[in-house]
Symmetry: C2
Subunit: 389 residues, 2 copies
């Protein structure tokens, strides 16, 4: 069931160890579900209990740890040997008197690393304050470091297979956007349109199916478009509604996000103006992208383009993305924003989404792309303009 060759997983592990070595880290505990998947292939909706992958600087394979009933998922989806799949009993689950990180500490002691330098992903989803507290209390002789984003920075440059998966996700999301356009209409319940969009994202294409996106389809309408993270209700769409659509196709956990804004009937002139400004700004930003350019330079091209319009955009206009699990498809590494000096390299992948939200409405138009040797490859060709119906 592996989605990549064992060699590719081992290369990722080697790059991770190299980064650990540079930072003086002997043991890295990886709880971010996307990072677990990246290093081992582990897949499954079991990240609601504590689980992870322990990378030892001088061991050939990491150790997967998790709940007993999820060990078979590790056997089915990872390249790890049986001896490196370690599961805890069910009384560790959500139990005030026992904590899974006491079990993790026992593994580290058993392997003889309890006086070494141990790093955790301190700001990763699902790695809670309690995990750190239990770990430190159980390993009093260890030294602790912050290993946040170590794997994220390794995975910022994609392999050709990863890129191919993202292209497939792009095909899926283009279909879903078309289904959204076809489904949304005056009098249609928002939940019924959202249901059709979900159907398209999961069913995929005739050649391959889709997987669940790390964020649900965000489909606010009317006044709810004044903020980007609300979604549908069961009210019907009304004449004059603006509908923002931020969707992502997913293939084998790799994303391609796509956002558009749809107007039903007559929408305010300011929404039309805003959309034109955003589309032109994206053109300007995409134009300058190639290896060697920095993230902040991309943002500057956008900012310069919209300057003349009088609209203001005070948040980042995009971010690195790819492999992920809920609650976010972003990778938390490079952002297209002032101050981010990350230098673009081939096979970095971004979602450029310079949404602007005013007091009572908003406009989102986005473009997912790969940095190539000479410029950009667009993952979708859906027209970058306001949709009107």
């Amino acid at each position: 069931m592996l989605n990549f060759t064992v060699e590719e997983y081992k290369e990722r592990l080697e790059k991770t160890k190299k980064s650990m070595s540079e930072k003086g880290i002997d043991v890295l505990i990886v709880q971010d579900p996307a990072n677990m998947n990246y290093l081992t292939g582990f897949d499954g909706w079991s990240f609601y209990v504590h689980q992870g992958v322990i990378v030892f600087i001088d061991q050939e394979q990491p150790i997967w740890f998790g709940r007993g009933q999820d060990a078979n998922a590790a056997r089915l989806t990872t390249w790890l040997d049986e001896e490196n799949i370690r599961d805890y009993t069910d009384d560790y689950v959500q139990n005030p008197v026992k904590h899974p990180y006491e079990f993790v500490a026992d593994i580290i002691k058993e392997k003889g690393y309890d006086r070494k330098t141990i790093a955790t992903e301190m700001d990763a989803y699902y790695f809670t304050a309690k995990c750190q507290e239990r770990l430190e209390a159980s390993l009093p002789n260890a030294k602790f470091k912050d290993g946040n984003l170590i794997v994220n920075w390794v995975k910022i440059i994609k392999s050709d297979t990863e890129i191919e998966y993202m292209r497939r996700a792009g095909k899926i999301v283009e279909r879903a956007m078309q289904v959204a356009y076809d489904s949304i209409d005056i009098g249609v319940r928002q939940c019924d349109a959202a249901a059709n969009v979900f159907h398209a994202l999961i069913s995929g294409t005739e050649e391959y199916g889709g997987d669940y996106p790390a964020i649900i389809p965000l489909m606010p309408a009317g006044v709810r478009t004044s903020t980007p993270h609300l979604s549908w209700t069961d009210e019907p769409y009304k004449d004059g509604d603006t509908v923002i659509l931020e969707l992502a196709g997913n293939y084998k956990r790799y994303h391609c996000p796509l956002a558009r804004t749809l107007i039903l009937g007559n929408a305010p002139q300011k929404v039309k103006d805003l959309a034109a400004v955003v589309a032109e700004g994206i053109d300007a930003a995409l134009d300058i992208i190639k290896p060697g350019v920095t993230c902040e330079e991309v943002e500057r091209a956008w900012a310069k383009s919209i300057e003349k319009s009088g609209f203001i955009k005070d948040s980042r206009i995009g971010y690195s993305m790819g492999l992920n699990y809920p609650p976010d498809w972003g990778e938390h590494t490079a952002s297209l924003r002032p101050g981010d000096k990350t230098v673009l390299q081939p096979n970095m992948t971004f979602h450029m989404i310079p949404g602007i939200w005013l007091e009572d409405c908003g406009v989102d138009i986005s473009q997912s792309f790969r940095v190539t040797e000479t410029g950009v490859e667009l993952f979708t060709t859906y027209p970058r303009k306001l949709l009107v119906k």
Copy 2:
């Protein structure tokens, strides 16, 4: 847009403050998205950035904090006054040089609570080790306590409106289960059946629409049923496949989960035997439920029932559930397992799901219910038996 009366939110807040007071806590920082919603109504898929609700023991309203672009979601979905909606600038987002909990510390200082006792939800999703570290570093004169599950224990007993929402979720999930049964067949791609199930969950009924469940439909087939948290692939179902279906309907963030096991064609006798044992065990456990009985007594009734079969179940058979966000619809309070002495009370709500997974297959049959004054109210009436097709 409030889903409950302001009075109901205020009652919940008072109960939370009472619990804080008993524990000697002056300030409670609530980052769990379900707890934020419970106290204020806040809704939105913005829990992928740090956000929360700060409850002060002697202030009338909590303070919502979050990202600038999400402040309008707080204005639209909560009962809080404008002065209690506090948003941070976008450069706090996923930026190694600034952290949102420094912003939180500033609010606590401004309000004059920086020498008081502050509690955090130390093992809640999204409250990371880094949040705690930044908070403690920024408030050197405060005393810290673990405030984990304080709100969860308040919400374990539902109001009548909450129960009504869960009944609606029950209607939605029964429809979705029927759609699953109708869609799954030999030669059908798993992703196409999953797409139909998603459609049913979101579209809801003619009277009301559905919201996204906190866990995707879990629909493993074949050997993937040997572990509970895998889902569909894009392979077609095969003759003889066992398919496990764990779905949840959702209405206004309130869940009703429902699990069944479906056999296509001829399945091994051991699966049929297992299903009969599980169904009988659930009957036995439901039979003894009423106020005053403890959670571990319910588990014991199950264990006694299956004892004679020779099968073993070494994980909990159910848990309190209701209002939630990804990644889990469980509330992390009472579990139906040995050692849990929680006493059942009217309007507690549980998902009883005594799944058994063998080496190469598994069986799940479940029942969501409410404890009534005299026994149980079942949220679904879908037959508790093996589905065969």
